[in-house]
């Protein structure tokens, strides 16, 4: 089956000389939720901007549903909805006017019923005649989402959708994302939070310094990288590992006062471990858990890739 988005050797070097993207190649399947994960400055926004026509690529190509983003930009762009990272809205327009404008801009015939539906889904309906400048930050972001959805895109780009967003909007947004996916819309979101990628995505692409380091099914990635550690502070020094605990992935710290248990979220086995510890008569005064951070993941990825 043809991919909804197909990126091939895409590179971008800004006029300043900054290399923002290096030879990115990526295929996105229809109606999947793809999370682009990477630290600030990794090139996430640049990649989205190139695909949407806001930034000119230095080299490489990309196709949206088989349409080249430059040669056939009209068809390509008409299939894309973009909610950018920055909160930028027209202050003096009403919500209704700005969303209607977006639909017109994308060449679609007026459809008041659809816009009403979108505004209702985003809890904007009773503010439809308000000027945008009178809305709160969260409401403005809803307006930007409504604008992006107004022309019924097949791909929706959400650039850092939850940065500075309240809990309620975050929940509404995730609900919207899954309902859109059910309607066959492909969603590509960027984030620098591992938990967020984990919560939503089917697949995760990790980008760092303009390079796509890996693309993997979320479950596999979490299994491979999303390690957790349980650290037990012992009340007596432990010099060697009792045989009864050998089956657990345990290590003893150098001073013998800590037991470190490494596990992944899918198969915790903490319960069993605690039972075995009790049976072996090992008691502890305190415990803490540590989750691998994005930094840990990058370190391990960079180590893994030659």
């Amino acid at each position: 089956m043809q991919h909804i988005l197909s990126i091939s050797h895409l590179s971008k070097t800004y006029a300043s000389g900054r290399i923002a993207l290096q030879e990115i190649s990526l295929n996105i399947q229809r109606s999947e939720i793809f999370a682009l994960l990477g630290p600030n400055g990794a090139g996430k926004t640049t990649l989205i901007s190139v695909l949407c026509g806001i930034v000119t690529p230095t080299s490489g190509t990309a196709e949206v549903d088989g349409h080249d983003i430059i040669k056939d930009y009209r068809t390509a762009r008409s299939k894309i909805g973009l909610v950018p990272q920055e909160l930028t809205t027209d202050a003096f327009e009403t919500v209704w006017a700005t969303v209607t404008f977006s639909r017109g801009l994308f060449g679609k015939s007026p459809n008041a019923a659809l816009i009403e539906k979108i505004l209702k889904e985003l809890s904007l309906w009773d503010r439809k005649d308000s000027k945008i400048m009178t809305l709160s930050g969260g409401m403005k972001r809803r307006v930007m989402i409504a604008k992006a959805l107004s022309h019924e895109p097949q791909i929706l780009f959400l650039d850092e959708p939850t940065a500075g967003v309240d809990v309620e909007l975050r929940r509404d947004m995730w609900r919207l994302v899954s309902s859109l996916r059910d309607q066959g819309v492909t969603i590509i979101l960027t984030t620098h939070y591992l938990e967020e990628a984990e919560e939503m995505a089917d697949r995760i692409g990790v980008i760092n310094k303009g390079e796509l380091i890996l693309v993997q099914d979320k479950r596999e990635l979490m299994h491979r990288l999303g390690k957790k550690q349980l650290i037990l502070l012992l009340d007596t020094r432990l010099t060697h590992m009792p045989d009864s605990l050998a089956k657990h992935a345990l290590t003893i710290s150098a001073d013998g006062m800590e037991l470190v248990y490494t596990y992944d979220k899918e198969r915790a086995g903490v319960r069993e471990l605690l039972d075995d510890l009790a049976a072996a008569n090992i008691s502890f005064t305190d415990m803490q858990t540590k989750q691998s951070t994005l930094e840990d993941i990058f370190v391990s990825l960079v180590k893994d890739t030659p």
Partner: protein
């Protein structure tokens, strides 16, 4: 062609005009009245007729051009500068809209507004002085041509400017002097030969001269030359605009 996009931009821009309509109308009406009180009544009473036309009537085409030029440039430059300034330009750049369509929407709206204001200036002038319009269709044609040309010019300024000062700079430093020195208030025949020659490199001279011809059937410069120069300036602006979009100058990184 994405006609709906042109429509959307045009309506959006006209709505913006609508919100500031009062101040847009007040300013040309007020300044036209002031010009008439000062130049028409106070000074004009001491002036002889120019080419068989009373001084009060003589300055009417110049005043309309003054309003038209200033309004076209400020409307169009602000129209495209503002989305760049606020960041909402992302939507225009990511929409399936071609550069000519984008320009048609913005320049069309800016030109419409300045033509309306030009006609309001004309109506205001009529309250002060009696004049005839020999070639009304040509008058409208010059109005349209000038409005479009200078809206395009304003569009270029709106893309070039990266702050509000620069946005005001060109209209203030270039356009106002060129208009005042372009024969709005005098016939260039009244100038000494040297200054007359200098004046002929001022494009506004041709606009005002051609426009005045449509009123009184007489002009400083041959009407064909006026028309030719206006069209030349129009093509120059079109060339710059297409270069801007081809290179993405100040629009795309």
């Amino acid at each position: 062609m994405n006609i709906r996009a042109i429509q959307a931009i045009y309506i959006f821009e006209m709505a913006r005009t609508g919100r500031t309509l009062l101040q847009s109308i007040v300013s040309p009406v007020l300044s036209t009245s002031l010009y008439f009180i000062v130049f028409g009544a106070a000074i004009g009473s001491h002036m002889t007729q120019i080419g068989g036309v009373s001084y009060g009537a003589f300055i009417v085409p110049g005043l309309i051009m003054l309003a038209l030029l200033t309004q076209s440039i400020s409307n169009a430059s602000f129209g495209i500068f503002f989305p760049r300034f606020t960041g909402t330009i992302y939507e225009l750049l990511s929409a399936p809209v071609s550069p000519p369509e984008l320009v048609a929407g913005y320049v069309g709206a800016a030109a419409t507004k300045s033509i309306i204001l030009g006609l309001i200036t004309l109506a205001t002038a009529r309250l002060f002085v009696d004049f005839r319009i020999d070639h009304p269709l040509w008058m409208l044609f010059f109005l349209l041509l000038t409005a479009v040309t200078f809206s395009l010019f304003g569009f270029v300024i709106g893309i070039w400017a990266d702050n509000f000062e620069k946005l005001q700079l060109i209209p203030l430093l270039v356009v106002t002097p060129l208009t005042f020195l372009g024969g709005s208030f005098y016939s260039i025949d009244m100038l000494p030969p040297f200054w007359r020659a200098v004046t002929l490199v001022n494009p506004v001279v041709y606009l005002i001269s051609g426009f005045r011809w449509s009123f009184f059937g007489a002009s400083d410069v041959n009407i064909a030359i006026s028309l030719g120069m206006t069209l030349f300036f129009l093509s120059a602006c079109l060339a710059i605009v297409s270069w801007v979009f081809k290179t993405g100058y100040r629009l795309k990184a």
